[in-house]
């Protein structure tokens, strides 16, 4: 064997247990990246084979056939057909749900026809036993010409045997299941010659799905088009006939290897549960109850860890501020970098909790029912039942939410989902909402149980949701493309979730968030630190003298003086100058230049708002005052009344509900839509929506 590590791909139908097998093989030894050139997530990990060598395992998206239906399905054909790709596997393990072998074998025979060394892992053997099915595994292996390993990915039994088989050389079956039609023999031969392929079916795939061959140059594509034209072929032709042919073969095979078929009612509990969960009344009630529970938990359980992270990072900053010499670099570290990292980590608890729930719903099989329940409603708005998951995830963070849209196969529905998801109020908006709501909404209860502040907060979330749905509705008529939208989705049997799988999903999603959003948020917090810590001219440089002169007749404590100096500096920094510059534009919304500074600093990451407010309003003699109290006492010099009147505060709340203010989201949208068109449209649309709504709110209320 070569010194190169063996690469093994896991392929199989959705819900066949690929991820469970993957987790068993690799443990925590996983990494998530992206397939080069495309944005589909790639999960790979290492395993040690019985012979002591290491092998790289790649978990691929679930597919029913080599012919892809959506973006994330296409990746499978892409890597199997591109032999030059560093990802192209040496061996393939097809994971099959053995309770439904017939459907899994369609995919299996396609892969063996490609000439790939393949192992069939028959998963869910526990359920097979329970259903009373029995297979002649020896005959199955002989007929297919490949090794067959029975496993139970839930318990992990059979995994060692699987590793064993993988580490040995694997024969390729000598005979194809599906033979190319004679009319196309010449076409296939010319493709083989041109691309130096050593397998007919592989060459046939080149003709069937040129769109998956990202590695071809224009000339190669042109060649395929010419061959197709010459032989009267077009991609998609004969795919139905191929499926029928394969199923005929499979039926004959199963007739020989199935010793005993399933006892009929073994899935009874699934249909009983479905009668409740897809009931016209209970179905929706339960779904909304679950949603409510999820949001409650996100806010209730995340609070303590978030506070800890907040104070933890403040302590780290302070510590470094004390032990390091007071230089510019130290300040960059303690005022820019460390709070910047803290600003990312603080969202981890909420994101982890949300994804724990989403993984739970997916593992148990309930998520498919949510799609089933919501499809008709979502379609009215130009979305898809599958848009529910991104929209729900958007409440934690738009970044993983937008990545979750890849399962939507229809381009238009996917684009609309991506476009409206950032309108869902994400967890970064929450600190802004909390402080402003506490400022102007009285801390009272109505009807004894509902807190007014809580209701206001919920209203803001609903406002974001309503904006998302209405925007989708408008886009449904504006975006014109003719592409059919399908549902065709399996409703998997309900299963008791496997907790370790949920654990892996949480780790994986959180990691993606920290890495994706982290880079951008960190970079931005450094830029903002520079803008807010430096300023042109004499006023900024001699801030201390100016403050001393102005407040000569005030008796300031040393702390009071320091905070005045900080506020004075901010006023004359670059950020302050920009804030003053935009004052005329934001005045009709009820904002002054101080709020303007906050708008500038939170342009790229909205959560910076609270920190900026803390610095701007740090003036005052009483150091024990909270930011909220300081904001409350702030006087509007024009009216003599408080700065944060209900009109201003609500206007600001609406602004933060609608405005884009998240550079990381724009970066993800750019990557997912492969261009600047959609992120820029999104930025323009959301800014306009924010401005106009704020304007309307302020003018109405004041």
């Amino acid at each position: 064997m070569s010194a190169e590590r063996l690469k093994i791909a896991l392929v199989g139908n959705p819900n066949s247990g690929k991820s469970s097998v993957f987790n068993h093989l690799t443990g925590l030894n996983q990494k998530i990246g992206n397939f080069p050139g495309v944005t589909v997530e790639k999960k790979s990990g290492m395993t040690i084979l019985p012979d002591g060598s290491a092998a790289e395992i790649i978990d691929l998206p679930g597919i029913y056939s080599l012919y892809p239906r959506s973006l994330d399905e296409r990746i499978v054909s892409e890597i199997l057909l591109d032999h030059a790709s560093p990802l192209c596997p040496d061996k393939v393990v097809v994971i099959a749900d053995a309770t439904n072998l017939k459907r899994s074998l369609l995919l299996l025979t396609q892969i063996t026809d490609l000439g790939m060394p393949t192992v069939l892992a028959l998963n869910m053997m526990d359920l097979v036993a329970r259903a009373g099915i029995s297979y002649d595994l020896h005959a199955l292996s002989n007929e297919l010409g490949i090794p067959v390993v029975p496993i139970n990915a839930r318990k992990g039994s059979g995994i060692d045997e699987l590793k064993n088989v993988i580490s040995k050389p694997i024969e390729v079956p000598g005979k194809n299941v599906f033979n190319i039609y004679p009319d196309l023999k010449l076409a296939v031969q010319s493709v083989r010659d041109r691309f130096q392929l050593d397998n007919d079916y592989e060459a046939y795939q080149f003709l069937q799905q040129p769109a998956s061959l990202k590695f071809l140059n224009d000339e190669g594509r042109e060649f395929l088009r010419n061959v197709s034209d010459t032989y009267g072929f077009f991609p998609g032709k004969f795919q139905g006939a191929e499926a029928i042919h394969r199923y005929t073969f499979i039926q004959t095979l199963l007739d020989r290897v199935v010793l005993k078929a399933a006892d009929l009612p073994w899935k009874k509990h699934t249909s009983a549960i479905d009668r409740v969960l897809t009931h016209r009344v209970w179905g929706y009630l339960i779904f909304f109850a679950i949603l409510f529970l999820i949001f409650q938990s996100i806010f209730a359980w995340a609070e303590v860890p978030m506070d800890l992270i907040d104070s933890g990072f403040a302590a780290i900053s302070e510590y470094f501020g004390k032990i390091l010499p007071n230089t510019m670099l130290t300040r960059l570290l303690t005022e820019g970098v460390i709070p910047g990292i803290g600003g990312i980590i603080i969202f981890v608890p909420q994101i982890a909790i949300l994804f724990a729930f989403i993984a739970l719903l997916e593992e148990s099989g309930y998520m498919a029912r949510v799609v089933f329940l919501m499809d008709k409603i979502m379609r009215k708005f130009g979305l898809n039942g599958k848009s529910v998951v991104p929209l729900m995830s958007g409440v934690a963070c738009a970044i993983p939410a937008i990545m979750a849209t890849r399962t939507i196969d229809n381009w238009k529905e996917r684009t609309i989902t991506i476009f409206v998801t950032p309108l869902m109020s994400c967890s970064a908006r929450l600190p802004v909402f909390t402080i402003l709501v506490a400022l102007v909404v009285p801390d009272k209860f109505v009807l004894g149980v509902f807190s007014l502040q809580g209701l206001a907060l919920m209203g803001l979330y609903l406002l974001g949701f309503a904006a998302a749905m209405l925007t989708a509705l408008v886009m449904k008529y504006l975006v014109r493309v003719k592409e059919r939208s399908y549902l065709l989705m399996e409703l998997p049997a309900y299963r008791w979730p496997k907790w370790s799988n949920i654990g892996y999903t949480i780790v994986e999603k959180t990691k993606t968030f920290v890495l994706e959003a982290g880079k951008v948020i960190l970079a931005i917090s450094i830029v903002l630190w520079v803008l807010a810590s430096y300023g042109p001219g004499e006023k900024f440089e001699h801030a201390r003298e100016h403050v001393l002169n102005e407040s000569a007749n005030l008796r300031l404590t040393p702390e009071g003086l320091e905070s005045r100096v900080a506020a004075y500096k901010l006023e004359h920094s670059y950020a302050g100058i920009i804030g003053k510059g935009i004052e005329p534009v934001i005045k009709p919304l009820g904002f002054d230049w101080k709020i303007g500074i906050a708008l500038v600093t939170s342009f790229a990451a909205r959560e910076v708002f609270v920190g900026t407010m803390a610095t701007i309003y740090s003036i005052g003699s009483d150091d024990n005052q909270t930011i909220k109290d300081r904001m409350r006492e702030e006087i509007n010099p024009e009216t003599g009344g408080p700065r944060f009147t209900p009109a201003t505060a609500f206007s600001l709340l609406v602004f933060y509900t609608f405005a884009m203010q998240c550079m990381s989201t724009l970066a993800i949208v750019y990557r997912e839509t492969k261009g600047w068109k959609w992120p820029l449209l999104q930025l323009a649309y959301m800014s306009a929506l924010a401005y106009i709504s704020s304007f309307a709110v302020f003018q109405l209320l004041s």
């Binding site: 479905d274 399908y486 399996e490």
Partner: protein, 67 residues
């Protein structure tokens, strides 16, 4: 068809969709069972090949059946 009924698939009226349906196991000659509809009447859930498949009414309409 009404929920609870079983029929035999005889063919498809939509070329493109038929490939996907075939791959998912809706084969001519195979029995399908109409299980139930979503609360709003669309999509619906059917059983084919021993598993449950959900599809929209317009998709289901492309499947021709024999009773």
């Amino acid at each position: 068809m009404k929920p609870g009924e079983v029929a035999i698939i005889s063919g498809f009226s939509d070329e493109l969709l038929s490939v996907k349906l075939l791959e998912m196991g809706c084969l001519p000659g195979a029995p399908v069972r109409f299980n139930f509809t979503a609360p709003l009447g669309d999509p619906i859930c059917i059983s084919v090949l021993g598993y449950e498949l959900s599809l929209r009414l317009e998709e289901a309409a492309t499947i021709s059946i024999l009773n």
